[in-house]
């Protein structure tokens, strides 16, 4: 096996398989047992699409391609945090080819993803599953809401933008500030754990990034902190203020030429109870929580002070859930001032 690896380029996916947990290791053995050509080659089938006996449903010259069973698929994680994937975006409105942006509560929107085939074989029949979730830091598939699915063919080394045509009806709870998760998969892919893990799975990406207006009044949002079904957790919720979003991410928020403001202008606080009176402050700068197995608890976020942001400026706020030194998840906000998006 070692010689095999030394003599062949090893993809990121291979490395993850090899270094993965018990489940992944078991799957790896199964996958390695299948020659690449048999396992993933999309060799054109020799039989015609309409095979004479029973169908008039395609031109006689059409040939079909067999669906790939596995491929090295990548939906890029964000930088500096994985939950800022630049490969997932939403288009508010009824035209899926419209301008990307942040949908408002009650809107419909279409979700797009960009998937790359980093392997050496074409990937045929890749299925992409699109989900939305309430604002939360660490996310779980069991609490996500499916939006829809889409198919894509991605040639080796190529990238394909994929549109999910099921309209995403942006719910009014949380004022429409929702999170998106996309999974690209083929039949032989290993099963995914319940916790959404984009770092461990290149074919999974997450976009927990939303536009927040904290101009005239405070921006408030209820985050959900969820524990796994069979394991309680003790976590810390904190915020980082300042920093910069990748330039390619800005248009997906409807921000074109906006400049980041490094010096903290906004104040971020957390509380376990909603703060209704502005005179009560914004809550603590961080919060420690114990969440029983299979349960979720709300965390109330308040962002204040965006009035000092000029038009064309934004301040990045990153809310992070951590367990000791390990970051479990996060959600980021591009905070704009009273002038909002120009």
């Amino acid at each position: 096996m070692t010689d095999h690896l030394e003599n062949m380029p090893v993809s990121r996916r291979d490395l993850i398989r090899i270094s993965g947990g018990t489940t992944l290791a078991a799957v790896t053995l199964g996958s390695l047992g299948v020659p690449a050509a048999a396992g993933a080659s999309p060799t054109p089938a020799s039989r015609p699409a309409a095979d004479g006996v029973g169908s008039a449903s395609a031109s006689p010259a059409a040939r079909t391609r067999l669906r790939s069973t596995g491929a090295d698929l990548l939906i890029r994680d964000g930088s500096p945090h994985w939950w800022l994937s630049p490969d997932i975006w939403a288009v508010p409105g009824t035209d899926p080819n419209g301008t990307p942006g942040t949908p408002a509560a009650g809107d419909v929107a279409y979700v797009w993803a960009r998937v790359r085939n980093t392997g050496r074989e074409d990937a045929v029949g890749v299925q992409l599953r699109f989900y939305w979730g309430n604002p939360s830091v660490q996310m779980f598939y069991s609490t996500l809401n499916p939006i829809g699915t889409a198919f894509a063919d991605v040639a080796a080394g190529d990238t394909q933008e994929v549109l999910c045509l099921v309209p995403w009806n942006v719910v009014t709870v949380n004022d429409g500030h929702e999170c998106l998760v996309v999974v690209a998969s083929l039949p032989d892919d290993p099963p995914l754990p319940d916790a959404v893990d984009p770092v461990g799975h290149p074919n999974v990406a997450q976009r927990n990034l939303t536009l927040a207006s904290a101009g005239k009044s405070d921006f408030k949002l209820t985050l959900t902190v969820t524990a796994g079904r069979r394991e309680p957790k003790r976590v810390r919720i904190s915020a980082l203020v300042g920093g910069e979003l990748p330039k390619e991410t800005l248009p997906t928020l409807g921000l074109r030429d906006h400049r980041p403001v490094e010096k903290p202008l906004v104040e971020v606080g957390f509380s376990t109870k909603p703060i209704t009176d502005p005179n009560d402050g914004v809550g603590g700068p961080e919060l420690e929580l114990e969440v029983p197995a299979g349960r979720s608890v709300p965390v109330h976020l308040t962002v204040r002070g965006g009035r000092d942001l000029a038009g064309g400026e934004y301040q990045l706020v990153e809310v992070v859930e951590s367990d000791g030194k390990q970051t479990l998840g996060g959600i980021s906000f591009a905070v704009v001032g009273p002038e909002g998006v120009r």
Binding site: P44, P48, A49, A50, D51, G52, V53, G54, S55, A56, S57, A58, S59, P60, A61, A62, R63, T64, R65, R67, P96, N97, V124, G125, Q127, P146, I147, G148, T149, A150, F151, A152, D153, Q160, V162, L163, C164, L165, V166, P167
Partner: protein, 502 residues
């Protein structure tokens, strides 16, 4: 790299896979679970494209489950339109106009996406009121009191005679001669005209969908039993027209599964189409009734009833300008009163061909290739071409096994030149031999060739509804099987050509 110059230019249409027939105007209905989403994909450039891949990317209704499939074409000539389709399950589809996206890519180009709407309806039957209903976003049409030319005594089935438990024989085809149509708009509307169904076809198309679905359900139930259609949809009509003294033919029962199903399906559609012919393509009774009965100011129309009865002056031959004498009454019920309008007139089938010419080789040596070239000439002497038609042929082996082959005018495969009006299909005997052997048959002898073609609704998206409504697709403009009012013989199934295999 520029985008691949391939596009789906018109609305994708529904093909029922058991019978191979297109549903009226290409509309999908969730009473039939298994349907194929078909479209013509056109090379819009002035040059040939090579190594083209095409796949369906996504559907806007999560209740429609599509089986992923990628098609490849070694070459698609300039201007050619190729036919592609995908199997889908519509059991949980919602009535509406979901979007469907397709992606094409050719050598030297980046991928290009085409997004089109499809129309989905929901047909049901209420046993207690003996009423069919079809639900769409713009309202609900109820169809009742359907009178028919009585079908010939006896039963139809595909393959071996059914046992009566799992499969029940079909008693059709049913040629309608009258019905009551009640339209309940959603919402009630002010003014003269309400929204057209799907903002496109006339209301009568919804009634036609019901009749065709009833026919197909009856045929599928006879052939393969239940499981692929909504339980409760009735495939029989019992009220015969008391003014009719004749009876309708019946397809020959027991034909081997695939071909027999197709022949029966075509017969079912052709028979049902009599309703659409009687109620006119130019403007149907609902539109004309609305036009003639403008309601008072402030009134809302809450329901519209059409009662129609017609006499077939000719046998309803597909592709022929057969005539009907029709009388209908329209009644508009508003929040302020009731308005009525009556019409008596003659209507003629306008989905016609002047000539269908089929050319095949006289003799083919096994295991060579059987082929057929068909041209369909309109009354104005122009040819149907390219995506104008959804066409196919049945090649019937000497001992009875049918092979369904698509006929296309796309300049690829068997077809020499795209959009020249010559639709070509073929069958490689080498590929057919295993099937023949399985059926204990040989290729040697006389093969018969039966050709069928349905017109495709090619109205460009964005056309004003009342203009778009005047074009309806899914009518058979050519059919090897016809409906005759002779109960003593099977419905005439006439081969347009034959091939001797030696």
């Amino acid at each position: 790299m520029s985008a691949t110059p391939m596009a789906v230019q018109t609305r994708p249409f529904a093909i029922e896979p058991f019978t191979n027939v297109m549903l009226p105007d290409g509309i999908f209905d969730n009473a039939l679970y298994k349907l194929r989403i078909a479209c013509h994909y056109t090379n819009t450039s002035g040059g040939d494209l090579t190594n083209v891949t095409i796949y369906l990317e996504s559907v806007g209704d999560p209740g429609i489950v599509v089986t992923g499939q990628t098609y490849t074409f070694a070459r698609i000539p300039a201007g050619a339109s190729v036919l592609v389709s995908w199997a889908a399950d519509f059991q949980h589809a919602s009535p509406g106009k979901p979007l469907v996206s397709f992606v094409a890519r050719a050598d030297g180009f980046s991928s290009a996406r085409s997004i089109r709407q499809i129309f989905v309806s929901q047909t049901r039957y209420d046993e207690t009121t003996k009423t069919y209903s079809i639900q769409i976003p713009e309202g609900r049409l109820e169809l009742s009191k359907v009178t028919v030319v009585p079908p010939a005594k006896g039963e139809w089935w595909a393959g071996e005679k059914p046992d009566g438990e799992k499969r029940k024989p079909w008693h059709g085809p049913y040629v309608p001669t009258g019905c009551t149509l009640v339209w309940v708009p959603n919402p009630a509307y002010p003014g003269t005209h309400g929204e057209l169904p799907f903002e496109d076809p006339w209301w009568k198309v919804l009634a036609l969908i019901i009749l065709v679905i009833a026919a197909i359900v009856g045929i599928i139930a006879a052939a393969v039993g239940a499981g692929t259609f909504y339980v409760g949809i009735k495939g029989e009509f019992e009220e015969t027209d008391p003014g009719v003294v004749t009876e309708c033919c019946k397809p020959a029962p027991g034909d081997v599964l695939k071909g027999g199903l197709t022949v029966a399906g075509v017969a079912g559609v052709i028979a049902s189409v009599a309703l659409a012919v009687a109620l006119s393509d130019e403007a149907d009774p609902h539109w004309r009734g609305q036009e003639a009965t403008p309601p008072g100011p402030g009134e809302l129309t809450v329901g519209e009833r059409v009662e129609a009865h017609w006499t077939l002056l000719d046998e309803p031959y597909a592709g022929k300008p057969y005539r009907t004498r029709v009388s209908w009454s329209y009644e508009r019920t508003t929040t302020g009163g009731v308005y009525q309008h009556r019409v008596e007139e003659e209507q003629t089938n306008i989905h016609v061909t002047d000539e269908v010419k089929v050319v095949t080789p006289d003799t083919v040596a096994s295991p060579g290739t059987l082929w057929a070239r068909a041209t369909f000439t309109r009354p104005d002497a122009t040819l149907f071409s390219g995506p104008d038609l959804y066409a196919f042929a049945l090649f019937r082996a000497p001992q009875g096994l049918y092979f369904v082959v698509p006929l296309t005018d796309d300049g690829v495969g068997f077809d020499d030149s795209a959009s020249d009006g010559v639709y070509t299909g073929g069958l490689h005997l080498r590929e057919a031999l295993p099937e023949l052997k399985k059926a204990d048959q040989t290729p040697y002898g006389i093969w018969k060739v039966y050709v069928f073609a349905q017109d495709v609704n090619r109205v460009a998206p964005g056309t004003p509804p009342q203009i778009a409504a005047q074009t309806i697709g899914g009518f058979f403009v050519a059919s090897a099987v016809q409906i005759a009012f002779d109960p003593n013989l099977p419905c005439p199934l006439e081969a347009q050509s034959s091939i001797k295999v030696v």
